[in-house]
Amino acid sequence: MLAGKSGVGTIQTHYMGEVIAGMCDFDPLRYQRKKELRRGTRAGSIAIYCAHEAVADAELDLDSADKSRIGIYLGITEHGNVETENEIYNIKQYDYNVDVWSHHHNPRTVANSPAGEITLNMGITGPHYTLGGACAAGNLGLIQGLQMLRLDEVDLALAGGVSETPHTFGVFAAFKNEGALASHPDPQKASRPFDRDRNGIVVSEGGCICVLERLSDALKRGARIYGEIVGYSVNSDAFDYILPSPQRQVECMNLALKKAGISVADIDIINAHATATREGDKAECQAIREVFGSNSNTYINNTKSYIGHTMGAAGVLELVGNLPSFEDHIVHQTINLDNLDPECALLNLVINEPRKIDKVDYILNNSFGMLGINSALIVKRFAG
């Protein structure tokens, strides 16, 4: 990311031909058998891959762990669209004869599916479910994991979010018809939050799962601690199906700050939600300006400019992309920002070049979604 390189490309879809999208590049057979790939979903594959990588990175030995005390909490924007569209495409080849509709459709489309696939693959017997939170969902996975640890329902949470959304043409078509689908001759330049010429969302796959533990447990086992979740909030606009409410976003950020017991001057990085829609970016900038005002300690960036909008994974994935800043104090830039929209000209917006700052102790991540769901998460550098 510090090299400023976008990962966005193109894919072929049913009915819409080639579209701009960000796709995960990994070998699913590293952790799954071929049969699991056939039975499961793309979201499940991404989730399983992330879960294994998270467990390996955390140096956990699952075989000696009590698997009934591990919970899996995954945010999703939507699930089941892909599988339903695939089946309709399938029966179309048979003149819509529903006798060839797959008996696998229901296990693939139940809303807990991506989280449940992890339990099947890893033999985890604690609770698993997904959290439907539109594009705020990635943060919801982390928040749910944290809450379940606090309630002593689990000892370990595999928490995050996942997206298989580029495989559903319907999301592209709806964004397009709503005037909110990104277009650009160069796919890598298509996702351009805060730019005057932004024209919508790049829909992407994505997955990100974190191992969450109570601090005492993490310390006891000598875990490498990437950060501490110290504040969070979720609220609702109660305003519109798609249009955001800056006022409720303000309240959401303020509530997270209050829960963390810190002030605006303590936040070193805001990782903005901005998806490169005209109204969405403007609203978030208005909200950030209202909360953070002329505070000069806080730097702002945007990760979607690299990877597009990873939907259910976005909050957690973008947050995790910023955690290295705790160590190197370098704030990754927002790329594709060639002509800053004056309405998005926030103080200390990190544009096109990374920025080295004196310290990074707190990162705030915003994630907002349709139907007016807002989430904010604050992570603190672990000071030992």
Partner: protein, 83 residues
């Protein structure tokens, strides 16, 4: 379709359904599901493939006829003689 062609077709379908399994030593007269890891949903995929590929509907009461390779061939041969 002749008996041996039907047998090859069934093995090909099973391979698609359970791609991780080694089918080279599949005994023709022993229940398929006792020899490889194959659950009831996988079994339904065999029924589904017969329907999709050849328009053959296997009623639920006849599922037992598809339990071994030999019994499958015997059951399908008259149904597929003109295919």
């Amino acid at each position: 379709m002749k008996a041996e062609e039907i047998r090859s077709m069934i093995i090909e379908v099973i391979h698609e359904i359970v791609p991780d399994e080694d089918l080279s030593n599949l005994k023709p007269d022993i229940r398929i599901r006792d020899q490889i890891e194959m659950d009831s949903m996988d079994f339904l995929d065999i029924v589904m493939e017969l329907r999709k590929r050849y328009g053959i509907t296997v009623p639920e009461d006849d599922y037992m006829e598809l339990s071994t390779l030999d019994s499958s061939v015997a059951y399908l041969e008259p149904l597929m003689k003109d295919i």
